[in-house]
């Protein structure tokens, strides 16, 4: 399995990371090095193995379905790069 620049561009797009056109070949090469390393996993027969979902067999705790906090918009917005009138501000989404 070899990754070409088109696939690298697609992955960058899916990850929402801008990669300049001229950097795509090097990126594809790095992917190939890492994926080549990962290919070793194909040596194993895993047909009858269940994929691990939890490292320790324990049931996740459930909590009461109640409100535990809230009413702190100032704290929530305090670290936003752009907050206005109690909201996060972003570039126009809908025309």
């Amino acid at each position: 399995m070899s990754i070409d620049t088109a696939t690298a561009a697609k992955v960058a797009k899916l990850a929402r990371i801008k990669v300049e056109e001229e950097d795509l070949p090097a990126l594809a090469q790095e992917f190939n090095a890492i994926l080549g390393f990962i290919e070793q996993l194909n040596e194993l027969n895993v047909d009858d193995v269940e994929p691990m979902t939890s490292v320790e067999p324990m049931r996740l705790k459930r909590r009461e379905d109640v409100v535990t906090d809230g009413n702190q918009p100032e704290k929530v917005l305090a670290n936003a790069p752009d907050a206005r009138e109690g909201f996060f501000a972003v570039p126009k989404v809908v025309e």
């Binding site: 990754i3 696939t7 690298a8 992955v11 960058a12 899916l14 990850a15 929402r16 990371i17 801008k18 990669v19 990126l27 790095e30 992917f31 090095a33 890492i34 994926l35 390393f37 990962i38 290919e39 070793q40 996993l41 194909n42 040596e43 194993l44 895993v46 193995v49 269940e50 994929p51 691990m52 979902t53 939890s54 490292v55 320790e56 324990m58 996740l60 705790k61 909590r63 702190q72 704290k75 305090a78 670290n79 936003a80 790069p81 752009d82 996060f88 972003v90 570039p91 126009k92 989404v93």
Partner: protein, 494 residues
């Protein structure tokens, strides 16, 4: 008292309780040491005011006779932990200026126990790295140097700042986190003790997430006893982390008898790697002999899927990272890229993430995106999770056969030089070859300094324990520490 910064937690606790020193004196000594150690790049956000306030409060508590073991002890906190009102940016540009309005459970437990935070410690960006070179703050530097050399060495990673600070006596201990070896490898490179607890022992709440099924916080300390004391203060159930274990945390320090007679120590055949330096192999053999001399029984064991641990890790960890790091979008916290006329929200995401993440983080996020993408999910991600189940089964089987702990080298080499360029990223990943299996299987592991190499650099041995049996593991580590008698310290050049 002289050399206050060189005290262990246990010594400082006893001195505080006897009134031989105060937390204010200890804290001032550490702050002075930190001021003189900028060349180490360990402390990246210093918090002297908070430290002095907490030290004064700790002294009051000690005077009132209400003092848990960590009360008044000056510690450093890895930058990955959210600390209320104090920069917490996981050594990434994308969290520039982020000052959380809350405190992580683990750092909060230390704070409630009276520990004194001196500041935040350097690390690899988002804990992705083994040399502390991916940090936005620049490198952390190992206080150790090879004999007769002035070449700067890595303190390891990702908890490189924590390791450097503890080894250089800038603080009495520090917090670390370990996803593939990020506590144990830097501990080994700097001649200190690093404990990764069983997955679920320490709450992950408020710790910047890298790979949530692998991440675990733990103590980095000067001695095994200190790891027992500080580890106990960091562990415990937390309703805010659904994977946090609702199990009692025992008094680990009380379990340090040093008596390991009759314990069965497994020596895994598969950890004898091709090209392993002879010094590492010799140290490993010496460590096994020490445990045998202390009354333990050695047993050759097999962990047949060991060689698949790193490739499985480099599917699972990036996959989880790509999901966890999706939250860095320039909207709610941290950095947002400058936008051009006409840029929409997609451009904002793409530019923010391109400028905010470093090269290694971007690489892993994209690899993770790829292995989770339609058409590849089964071939990569599910296969890796199946291999992970096999790796865990290897350990389950040897523990079921009566093995109490497993002895391995901690790292495949001593600390290497900073600035080495690796042709491909996989070279750097090999640093975690002995440690990563432990994260995949969720087990507790500890790195104990056990000797020096020919250049006078520290080397560590790793002990791996049964799940939830940190107390027994710490006791075996204590016996190893006693037998190894490691007392070397780096010469001060900074």
């Amino acid at each position: 008292m002289s050399d206050l910064t060189k005290l262990t937690i246990a010594e400082a606790r006893d001195a505080l309780r006897k009134g031989d020193t105060t937390s204010v004196e200890l804290t001032e000594a550490c702050l002075t040491a930190i001021e003189g150690a900028d060349a180490l790049g360990a402390f990246v956000h210093k918090t002297p005011e908070i430290a002095m306030d907490r030290a004064k409060a700790a002294d009051e508590r000690i005077k009132a006779g209400d003092a848990p073991a960590m009360c008044g002890i000056p510690v450093g906190i890895k930058d990955l932990f959210c600390t209320e009102g104090v920069d917490s940016q996981a050594a990434s540009k994308i969290l520039e200026g982020f000052k959380p309005k809350y405190e992580s459970t683990v750092s909060g437990q230390l704070k409630d126990a009276g520990a004194v935070m001196l500041g935040k410690l350097n690390m690899d960006e988002f804990a992705m790295g083994s040399s502390n070179e991916t940090s936005v703050y620049g490198n952390a530097v190992n206080p150790w140097r090879a004999e007769g050399s002035a070449e700067a060495l890595t303190p390891g990673g990702s908890s490189g700042g924590s390791a450097s600070a503890v080894a250089a006596d800038l603080c009495l201990a520090a917090t670390g986190t370990d996803t593939g070896g990020s506590i144990r490898q830097p501990a080994a490179f700097t001649g200190i003790v690093g404990l990764k607890p069983t997955y679920g022992r320490c709450s992950r709440w408020g710790i910047v997430a890298f790979a949530s099924s692998l991440d675990q916080a733990g103590p980095m300390t000067k001695t095994v006893r200190d790891a027992a004391i500080m580890g106990q203060a960091m562990m415990g159930h937390d309703p805010k982390d659904s994977t946090s274990a609702d199990r009692a945390v025992p008094d680990f320090e009380a379990m340090l008898t040093g008596d390991i007679r009759g314990k069965v120590i497994g020596i895994p055949t598969e950890y004898r790697m091709d090209g392993m330096p002879a010094e590492i192999e010799a140290l490993w053999e010496k460590g096994a002999e020490m445990l045998q001399d202390a009354g333990a029984e050695l047993r050759q064991i097999s962990l047949p899927h060991t060689k698949y641990a790193l490739p499985a890790y480099y599917v699972i960890a990036p996959a989880e990272a790509s999901s966890n790091l999706a939250r860095y979008d320039g909207v709610r916290f941290g950095y947002r890229a400058k936008l051009d006329q006409g840029d929409g929200i997609t451009e904002m995401y793409e530019k923010t993430r391109a400028e905010g993440f470093g090269a290694e983080v971007k690489r892993r996020v994209m690899v993770g995106t790829y292995v989770l993408s339609a058409g590849f999910y089964d071939a990569y991600y599910n296969r890796a999770r199946k291999v992970r189940a096999l790796i865990k089964r290897d350990f389950d089987m040897v523990f079921a056969e009566g093995v109490d702990a497993i002895l391995t080298p901690a790292t495949p080499s001593a600390a290497f030089e900073l600035g080495q360029s690796f042709d491909d990223p996989v070279q750097m990943y090999l640093n975690d070859v002995f440690t990563v299996t432990v994260n995949l299987a969720g087990l507790p592991g500890i790195s104990v300094p056990a000797g020096l190499d020919a250049k006078g650099l520290p080397l560590g041995l790793q002990l791996i324990g049964r799940p939830w049996e940190e107390g027994d593991l710490l006791n075996t580590a204590y016996a190893l520490e006693n037998a190894a008698g490691f007392v070397a310290k780096p010469g001060k050049w900074w």
